[in-house]
Symmetry: C2
Subunit: 482 residues, 2 copies
């Protein structure tokens, strides 16, 4: 029987189970598993146990809730436990290949007060707009549920899985995947022994129409500059003009990091970036993208570059620096006449080949400290790396990518574009290094899903067709030479 003949009933079953699959995603979204908010840590843990329970029902065994210990500083609660990594197996046939599927069950912060149209932690089903709206719908609960959906469809059909599966679902991806590198290293020759490919579904199509496979990612080094002044917040009438104000120092230093066109101003950073070769430049020619897609996705006309190649290169293979915000200053509505006593400016740099992460940290922190020193302020500074994740680039023509390409074409009727990504999934690199195998990024959602933003959604069609694609990938990969 050909792979396509096997997939036909599987796709029908997936279609038939659509209401159950949407309910599964709704149940997952309802759990506020925000890893960046310490007060919500119990919800993150709850989400891990939700997965455990689903996996048990779907026939997984040897389920291990891996304890990663105490979260290292900076934390408010010095005894805060990291959420567990959910390891499990489905199938253990030595004649079959083994695929490790990775996903994360934590999400970015979200509150209706951020401007969401609906409660972020209630999945809203908009059949007429083909949308499922809610925090984590696309990043990354949708894809993780997609894998569970594939298991359920096989189970209900009584269809044998074409590969052995190992799950690795973590709860700290949005906060730097703390502890996961160590776990992977530790399990490389034990739980993860014999893995033939790693498949990660945690990114997006480039645009909104054409599916993609992704073979490269930028890294991300996230920093904060803490400036400490008075002992407590002060009244600006009484103290304005007579003390050094932390916010003045901070905006001064932040303004030195990047120019308005996104050029990083920290000396030495751009020099580390690999030069564009003519061969690389040619790879961009066929990709389906233009500035209109970028403007649609950003909901604005604020593009720095107009040409496809410039846009994609600056998203994929050049570094960028974003200033995310300030902790400790007045951030509410209205007019508070406060001099904030301690402010923390947050920014991150997206990294690319051949930047060295440790060298970058030194360049950044030395520069920040030197710029602050120039100010001659009596306030004090502490600049630090909060977390980092390296960039990653793979071979897009290996067996795993080929299987994913066939699966995508079967489901969507079009060959996927081969893309890189601006975002970071640092764990890709770790899997590749530690398991000495290849990693594939097989996205489910679209470029306008609004991951990390308000009104995050996944299209219903992407959720369902994406589930089919994940299933088909397993079958094509299982059918290829062991």
């Amino acid at each position: 029987m050909s792979v396509e003949e096997t997939l036909n009933p599987l796709f029908k079953k997936i279609q038939e189970l659509k209401p159950q699959f949407i309910q599964r995603l709704a149940d997952a979204v309802a759990i506020k598993s925000v890893s960046g908010d310490e007060t919500l840590r119990p919800e993150v843990v709850k989400m891990g146990y939700f997965l455990k329970s689903e996996l048990e029902k779907l026939g997984a065994y040897d389920i291990q809730m891996k304890d990663l210990g105490i979260q290292p500083p900076p934390v408010d609660n010095p005894k805060l436990n990291l959420p567990p990594v959910v390891l499990s197996r489905i199938g253990n046939d030595p004649a079959k290949k083994t695929v490790l599927i990775y996903g994360h069950y934590d999400v970015q912060p979200a509150g209706i007060e951020d401007g969401w149209d609906t409660e972020p932690f209630e999945l809203v089903v908009k059949e007429d707009e083909d949308k499922l709206v809610g925090r984590g719908s696309t990043d990354d609960k949708g894809p993780v549920m997609g894998w569970l959906n594939v298991l359920q469809a096989h189970k209900e059909l009584g269809l044998e899985l074409p590969v052995n599966i190992i799950t690795c679902f973590e709860g700290m991806e949005e906060s730097g995947s703390i502890g996961l590198d160590d776990l992977i290293a530790q399990e490389a020759e034990t739980y993860f022994k014999g893995v033939d490919a790693v498949c990660i579904s945690d990114n997006y199509w480039l645009g909104t129409k054409k599916p993609v496979l992704t073979y490269g990612l930028r890294g991300c080094n996230y920093y904060q500059i803490i400036i400490n002044g008075p002992g407590a917040d002060l009244h600006s009438g009484i103290f304005g003009g007579v003390i050094h104000e932390p916010m003045t120092d901070l905006v001064n230093v932040l303004s030195k990091l990047v120019d308005v066109n996104g050029n990083i101003l920290i000396p030495g950073v751009n020099e580390m970036v690999a030069k564009v070769t003519p061969e690389e430049s040619k790879l961009y020619d066929d990709i389906d993208f233009d500035v209109t897609e970028l403007n649609l996705a950003s909901g604005s006309d604020t593009a720095i570059y107009q040409s496809k190649k410039e846009i994609l290169m600056h998203r994929w293979r050049f570094p960028s620096l974003s200033i995310h915000g300030v902790e400790g200053a007045f951030s509410g509505a209205g007019a508070k006449t406060v001099i904030p006593a301690k402010v923390s400016g947050k920014f991150s740099i997206r990294t690319v080949p051949d930047m060295d992460s440790a060298k970058l940290d030194k360049l950044v922190l030395d520069f920040v400290n030197a710029e602050f020193a120039k100010l001659n302020s009596k306030n004090t500074i502490h600049a630090e790396l909060i977390h980092d994740g390296d960039y990653w680039v793979s071979d897009p023509f290996n067996e795993s990518f080929t299987a994913a390409s066939k699966a995508t074409e079967l489901v969507w009727g079009v060959k996927p574009d081969l893309t890189r990504e601006g975002g970071s999934i640092p764990i890709s690199l770790t899997f590749e290094k530690q398991l000495k195998t290849s990693v594939l990024l097989l996205p489910m959602g679209r470029g306008n899903d609004g991951a990390h933003s308000i009104n995050e959604k996944v299209n219903i069609s992407n959720y369902i067709e994406g589930t089919k694609t994940l299933g088909a990938y397993l079958h094509y990969f299982g059918a290829s030479q062991k």
Copy 2:
């Protein structure tokens, strides 16, 4: 009977009523009358009615809860009502002078998460530290309760008030006293007709040991710079490097406003400031103050100037510019990789003679717009004045100041320093202009009370002796020539 003979039993009664007076302040602090938070507007209104009820009990009549109408933009709720101004009379003897007492019953925002040691809206009585801790304890619920305490002490003693009193208690002082200017103009010849002096108790001693009377205030013009970019918050991995980021633009513009030593960099602003004359300079020689007091009050060693004269001049008679914070950016703990779509930078300028408020607005907004234009960003800017209040300077040797000086010396055993203030009470100027009378600032609290900050307090001794001072002021002023 001399004024001092009259005051003797009054002071005793005030001492005796201390527990009731502290309870009154606790009841007031428990009402979260934050005028800057629209969601708490019902609490502000509740606080106005608390005062009405107290005034009724203490013999006030003709109580009018003046409706100031709808709050003008910028507001979230376009139908938000302003809180009422509480007007009332105690006494109406044409042979007596009439004193208008002004205070405000709204407070600055506060939350335990800001770093308070205790719940900000629960008054904590620390007898051993001589402190009453809570939001509004010193700014301005303590002084407003002080006036009520004076009324109660007279009532319980059966002692006749030496003057007629008119109260004017507003609920929008921390948000620019919206609507009060118009009300004062409107009532100048009606409710407020015949006022001989206005007494405002809404500022602080310069230091912590010596009482003061205050004859000058800086004004405050509060601005926001709104920069609008993408249609929603975006993922910095996907959009970093390819769109113009509002935060980059904002820190750039904010960094152009003021240098680290507090020098305002907006051309034309410093040129409007009155020159220091030798006579004025001499006035600072005798004031009890040094940099140690400033460092104690700021809880740090971040003073820009070391000499008493430079510090006080920069607090009182030179302008300053403080950057208060950013609305719309990431402001929480942790590491959120967001590109905020719309950010609003808040800053204010403390104004002094002879700055023209309208001219200042034009200089500031033109400069901000010009600096933004230089950036050539595709984001859009809207800079605006949120509210303003003019500076004020009075004659510190008139009858009202003389009465207050005697009262202070009787209670505290020392002649008060004559000071100015860095903070603004713009309504001082309005009263003076509209009622064609003199305004006196008679502070209750100390320089380290932490108004607008965490752990705001008033000393128990200041609350009680301050109540005596307010009462004694009325008697000395009432005894002076009508």
